[in-house]
Structure formats: structure tokens, C-alpha cells
Symmetry: C2
Subunit: 369 residues, 2 copies
Amino acid sequence: MVGLRTLQPSRRLPFNPDAAYGAITLMTTPKNDKNTRTTGRPTLNEVARRAGVSPITASRALRGIPSVAEELAQRVREAARELGYVVNPAARALASARSQTVAVVVPSLGNQLFVETLEAIHAVMRPKGLEVLIGNSHYSRDEDEDLIRNYLAYQPRGLLLTGFERTESARRMLEASGIPCVYMMDLDSGAGLHCVGFSQLRAGAAAAEHLIARGRRRMAFVGAQLDQRTLLRGEGFRRALQQACLYNPAFELLTPQPSSVGLGGELFGQLLAAHPQLDGIFFGNDDLAHGALLEAMRRGVRIPEQVAVLGFNDLPASAFMVPRLSSIHTPREAIGRRAAEMLLALMAGQSVAEPVQDMGFELMVREST
Amino acid sequence: MVGLRTLQPSRRLPFNPDAAYGAITLMTTPKNDKNTRTTGRPTLNEVARRAGVSPITASRALRGIPSVAEELAQRVREAARELGYVVNPAARALASARSQTVAVVVPSLGNQLFVETLEAIHAVMRPKGLEVLIGNSHYSRDEDEDLIRNYLAYQPRGLLLTGFERTESARRMLEASGIPCVYMMDLDSGAGLHCVGFSQLRAGAAAAEHLIARGRRRMAFVGAQLDQRTLLRGEGFRRALQQACLYNPAFELLTPQPSSVGLGGELFGQLLAAHPQLDGIFFGNDDLAHGALLEAMRRGVRIPEQVAVLGFNDLPASAFMVPRLSSIHTPREAIGRRAAEMLLALMAGQSVAEPVQDMGFELMVREST
DNA sequence: CGGTGCAGGGATAGCGCTATCTTTGCCGAC
DNA sequence: GTCGGCAAAGATAGCGCTATCCCTGCACCG
């Protein structure tokens, strides 16, 4: 009943939608009524029938492929809207051997840092019609590998991964898949890979230089979680101190426990008890530093007079701590955005002029140093 | 070459894998070599051929369907392992009209609360082989609707949604889909729905009662974001104050801005400037309370002597604030876990004895009150 | 005025699985 | 024995799309 093409003065044999895709189809599939496997949602065929075109034309129209006359495309879009049609991503992925999906693996969602990165990625990908799959590896190489294996099965258009710390077999899978991949956050060992981040090593050095410039001489590094990036920051810090002949290996407190405010306070207490002479502490993550500031207040330790405290990442709360926490601000939104854009380019088959993008970092000097 | 069934004394005609699924298949599809649409990954057919069984048997074996003899199943699993076979989820979803996916929509990832809920959900779903899709609605009904529409297209096995605040059309889509759905966090308007949470209304009342019990008489409520749950907490607080004849509508500060530490400090300042006589403040979320405590310290406002401060959610950092923040602890891990389990039951077609599960809340009394 | 190029469509044929019959052989029962 | 019933496979037929080829009509060409 639909689709008598009165609007268009056709140049060809009129296409009879009901005959072609309605009645005949129903006749040649007599078991249609007993087959209950379908989802009940409208299919592309129904849209096509309603618009009076063939299914492929409908497919092309909805995908915005230009070889469809605008008038037809419009009819198809309208039919889709009227029926409430939504593509079946599984069917699309199967037929085209590619999904509309991008997978991201971050090591934690508890760290605000990665949440902000994800937001930036979303903001780039969503407008392109790409679904973002979020995986949390919990800082575990094995989970990271599982997630990658799992996601590769979905044939994502691209992958965004955090850092380079990865099992050998995960690396092989990635390579074998041929799926474009951009690495976020670190640069220091990203030779030959596409990566967007900053040098954790240099950031650690910058921390040391700032404390030295503030006249500090006995400085400690406190790191938790002990992921590669934290270790690199520590290493950068260490080297800069060595260079200034101020390095003391005893002034280093590392623990694999996950970073948290509570832990920061605890480590701060331990450190001061063991080394009361300390006059500066660099924390590998801001939440540790927050805990330290709170613990200092509780103990009456004066910050920064007695000990300067420097954080890392510049989480939103840092500027409001008492005293306001100095921290190294990391450009996670920019990293997320740029990494997403780079991935988009790779997905489009373009080669990227600058495969390694250093987004830098910024020292935020506040009251705590 | 593979699969001469020497191991099993067959009762039937021997199944010749190469003839059935190898050579003949290749002959009847002469264009196989020029078709480059395939992904290159091994398919179930190849696994079946290698194991010397039919594809359906291989499918059944890998899905653990018991009607396959253990010996065959073992051969299939081994073949799959040798080939590095991973199912194509798109093909599976298309063929079975269902995915191995559960979708979750939370209003924010910036709030630690929801991250912890997600972790609990993951912990339940992953072992069942279910993929968890995470959607962030940013406290927007429109985004919530978009996410739901989008996820429904994936034919998830189930949905976990936060709260009941939802557009009419989202509600209709959910109902029409017939996909099981569990609502998390709130109970107050969940009549007829499956929900796991606690009464935001009663939690708000408990906050008021605690402050009253502490001898406070001029109490304010500070809420940001203004999502339904925050408003309900405020409403519960208000009603309890009214009942005690202590309600003063001027002592309420609501803002649609997203909750944050910085905002908490700012609102605290505004409130005290406008109403210096206040002796108790209930913050709708802990990060606001954190900001207030820090701002109080900066201003020399003594907490709790001058003003008692009570938070909500009991975020991990609250116990370490100065003074330690009293807060209403919400059982988000338990909610996530229980909601996931309830959804699992619904997905299995079971009816749930208690469709509304009140997980309660716990007042954590610390130094700030 | 026949060739020939180019659009705008359509027909055909799967993508890689699984739901649903069928078939086969075997067992026990009447 | 014959037959019903059962268990363990296999054959068949799509799921809902899209890649790929193909067809048709028209414009343009010399």
C-alpha cells in the first residue's frame, strides 16, 4: 500500500515495493510466521519496503552514501523514523566485518585522571557515531591482556591503550590484528608506536628541580601502585637528585598498594618517623599528597615550612587543599582528545605525521611548596 | 587430514570432515579466494573441520551444551585452542538474537560512588562470561535516553540503570524491548520495578535526626547537581526538620552545578556569610563536605563546635579529613552486587521473590558532628 | 547515430554463527 | 521381533545487514 511513487517521475520501470519485497518474500518463506527468532524490531527490509526502495538502497541512504539521490534518501530516512528503525549492530558488523566501535583500556576508574581522559575520548568519538567500549585493567597485565583479547573479538575499528606495560602475548595479538592502536599517557618507551602523552621521566625530574629551587635538600619520593608510569616519575626524580648530588636512596618509599588518601597519610607518617630531617616530598599521585597534607595538619607538621609537599596530576581537589597543593598538572583531556583524533586518522587509513605527540605537563606552584 | 576418528569406536557412518566441510565447500564456492571480506581469524567451521565434527557440534561443544559427548567436546576445545579460535560475537548475536552483554548506565564516573558500583557489577558479571557496557549519562535525561536507545540496539541480555529519572520515551523503549532491567540506588518511586538501593528519603531524614540529636537547631541542606536522589535526600531532611519544628526554608542552598570539592567550599562560604547563626550543615554529597571542611579550616571556622558538618556517601577520603567527616555510608558495592545478581535471575527467566531490595545505609559518626 | 561513460539504482551472495528440524542407531518393552 | 523413545549427532535455513557485481537509461562524443 505504501510507496506508490507519485513524487518522482521515474525514468525507469517503476519499482513495485510490495511485489518485490512484500508479497513475494512472504510467499517464498512460508515458515515466516512460526519463526520466532526475530527480535520484533523493524528491519532494514521493512524500512526499504515502506520507502519503496530496495534494501541496499535503504542501507546506503541511512549510511549517508552519496550515490543515492537526495529525494530517495529523504524518503528512506523518513520511513526509518516512522518505524523507529535502529540498525542492528551485530548484523552490520557481521556483514561488513567491522564494527562501529572503539575500545579503550585504562588501568583504573578510581583515579579521576582516567575518567577525564575517557570523557575527552568520548567527546571526540561520539559525534562520529563510534561506540566507546571501556575496559578497566586494574593495573593488571593479565587483565589488560584479557580485555584486549576480548575486545579484538569485537573487531573494533581502533584501540586506545594506556601505557606500554603489556604482556608479550597481548603485544602479539595487537600486532596480528592489524587494528590501529594509539597509546596514551607515556612516551618514554613508545618507539615506533603511535602515542600521545608526556615524558613521565621528565615530569619526575621537573618535580625534583622545583623542590631544589625551593631550597630543599633532603627530598623523598613516595609512590604507590608501582605501575610503570609511577616508576618512571620516580626514576626521573631520582636522576635529577643524583645530578644535584642530593640523592639518598633511603628517602624513597614505594608500595604496590593502590594509591589513596588514607594510604598517603599513612606513608607520610612512616616517612617522617623514619626520617625527621626530610624537607621535601614528591608524591607520585595527588591523592597520596592529599592524605599527607591532612595527616600533617593532624600532627601539627607545618607545610611547607618544615616539609614541602608536591603532588602529581593536579586533581581537581588539589587547589582547595590546606595548604593548597602544588602539583604537576597533566593534560589528560588534551591527551584523550588528541589520542582519539590520532586514532581517527589511523582508522581512516591516513598516516600520521607526528606519531609521537608530547603534550607536556605544567608545574602548578601553590602553597604546599 | 585431521580427525580420523580412531579414538572413538563409532556406532555410525564415519563422518568425513574433509569431504564434508573441506573440499566440497571450497568447490561450491569458487569465489572464495577473491573474497577478502573475511577477517582472517579462524572460524567455527575451521575448528569443526580440525576436530572432525560438524560445525553445529563444534558450536555446541564450545558453548558447553551437554548433548555433546565429552570426548568430542574435548577434541573440539582442543582444536579451538590450537587455532586460537575466539567466537565472533557479532555472528553469535545475529544468529541467536541475543548478545552476551549487559549494559549499565550511571550518571557520572567522576563520583567514586558509581565507580565502586560498577566494580561490583563487573565482579558478578565477568565470571558469567557477560560483557558489561558502561554508559555515562552525565546526569542528563537526554543522554540517558540516547544511551538506552543505543544499548537496546545491541540486544543486551539485561540492563542496569541508575534511579528512575528518565524520559517518557526511554521508559517506553525499555518496556517495549522486554529486556530485563534492574534499577539501582533508589527505592522511593520504584513501585512495580525491580530495584536495589535504599530510601534516599529516609537517609535524608536520618541526617536531620543525627544533627538534632547532636543538639543542633539551625540546620541547612546543601545540594548540588540536583538529580532526583539529591533532591529526595533534601526532602527527607526537610520533612524531619519540619516534624521537629526546626525547618527554615532560608537554610537551603541548591545549585545545579556538578558537585565538587571546590564548589563545596564556595557554597559553605556563601551559606555562612548569609546565615552566620547556622550550627549544622548536611551536604548532599561528600565532596561538597570535603570542600566545606577545607574552607572552614582556611577561615578558622571551628568544626564541629561552631558548625557541625555531615556528608553523604562516605567516600573513601572522608575518614581522613580534618576533622574526620561524619557521613552517611551508602552500600554501593552491595547494591551493585545485588542488582547484578537480581538481573542474572531475571535474565534466567526466574521470578524474583523480593523485587525491591532495601540495602539500607549507615550513619558514620566521626569528628565533624 | 552507434559507442561509451557514468550515475543511480538493484540482484545476488554471503558474513559466522545458532535454532530447529531430521536422522541415525540403540535400548528396552510389549 | 517390532516399535516407541531417547540420545547424539548432522542438515538446513536463516539472523539482518552490506560488499560486490550488474543493469539500465541518459548524456555526451566524434
